[in-house]
Symmetry: C2
């Protein structure tokens, strides 16, 4: 004689929902490995500076979308001119921002003849200056040139999966012939962020990394 | 009444010598930190290739001594020509070697348009090729272009101090804003080696290292 089982339907639904939620976010929340996104030299412009460089009411036009939702590489480019050299066709990334910011590598800085600091994006106080030339005008940028500090973008779900939060500093392990462990890697997490480990070309070359290669997060 | 002590004079001399030896090598054998030596692009030439590039019975002349005893930067330079670009005034290091070897960075390789492997110096089988132009002639080098694998030179005394030996692989810890730990760092030890951590410009830029900065050896 079998005993009839009594289920609390509300509890069952709740458990099923919990399991389905976990299953569906699992690949995103616990991805284990993080894809590499290489940042070549680029700049972000304020609307004011965009109009000085490209004319009244100028707008950035989308060449291709970037990994972070809403961000794009624009068709528009500029020339950077430093005391020692110049770099042509430097890509503008959109959309426009509150402040103009130029991100280059240490290698670029030697070519241009400037010595910008390594900074997290947005932290431009007392950073480097540069001349920017567009199709319609030019700017002598007083500050805003940085070498971007390496960082990992991730959604809040992904951050929970890794057990980290926005602003944390972590390590990133790279395998291969030029294996190394990057320290001081900042977590940048928010609803509009997508999993991506951002480094510049110098860092990629030092570790023999290419776009899309997978690396491993290590907590402090 | 004191007992007269009897010393074995030979034993005493041997002990004193041992102690003095230990004392005198102590600062070199346990230096703790290792100075950084930056390698910019350069090449080593065989006598045969030197004569093709600079004429019959050509000799390298010393511009300045390098950190490794007997090694020097020569006054003589060459031009490297790859499928995509060229690099002028590339320094030759002396003395001449058995085989010609060109050492560049990954950044250089993109400019030249070649894809050489990361290798320990001397391991040039199936490495990259390049055209080399000197004052008197040129060479189409079939193989010999590498990206040098990072390594630490040290004397046998220093190796004993660190508890490592020639051919070992260790880690190197770098502090600062771009702190990281280099893995796969090879120990190169012998009587003519002097303590120096050799990296290329990409690696220096990725870690914000300059010539003479101090780094820390970590054993596996």
């Amino acid at each position: 004689m079998r005993q009839k089982k009594v289920y609390d339907e509300k509890l069952v639904r709740s458990i099923v929902k919990e399991v389905l939620d976990k299953l569906s976010v699992a690949p995103k929340a616990f991805p284990g490995k993080i894809p590499v996104g290489l940042s070549n030299r680029h700049l972000h412009l304020s609307q004011r500076d965009l109009e000085i460089l490209f004319g009244k009411e100028a707008k950035l036009t989308n060449l291709r979308n970037l990994s972070q939702p809403g961000q794009f590489a624009a068709n528009e480019t500029v020339t950077l001119v430093g005391p020692k050299g110049r770099m042509e066709r430097v890509r503008i990334l959109g959309p426009v921002r509150k402040e103009t910011q130029v991100e280059i590598s240490r290698t670029d800085s030697y070519i241009l003849g400037i010595k910008p600091p390594v900074r997290i994006s947005g932290d431009i106080k007392d950073s480097g200056g540069i001349k920017i030339i567009g199709h319609k005008g030019e700017i002598d940028l007083r500050e805003g040139v940085i070498i971007a500090q390496r960082h990992i973008h991730m959604s809040p779900d992904e951050a929970r999966g890794f057990g980290v939060k926005d602003g944390d500093s972590v390590k990133v392990k790279v395998s291969g012939k030029r294996a190394l462990i990057f320290d001081n890697v900042m977590i940048r997490s928010g609803p509009t962020h997508r999993l991506d480990f951002h480094i510049d070309i110098d860092e990629a070359n030092a570790a023999e990394l290419s776009q899309g290669d997978l690396v491993e997060l290590i907590k402090e």
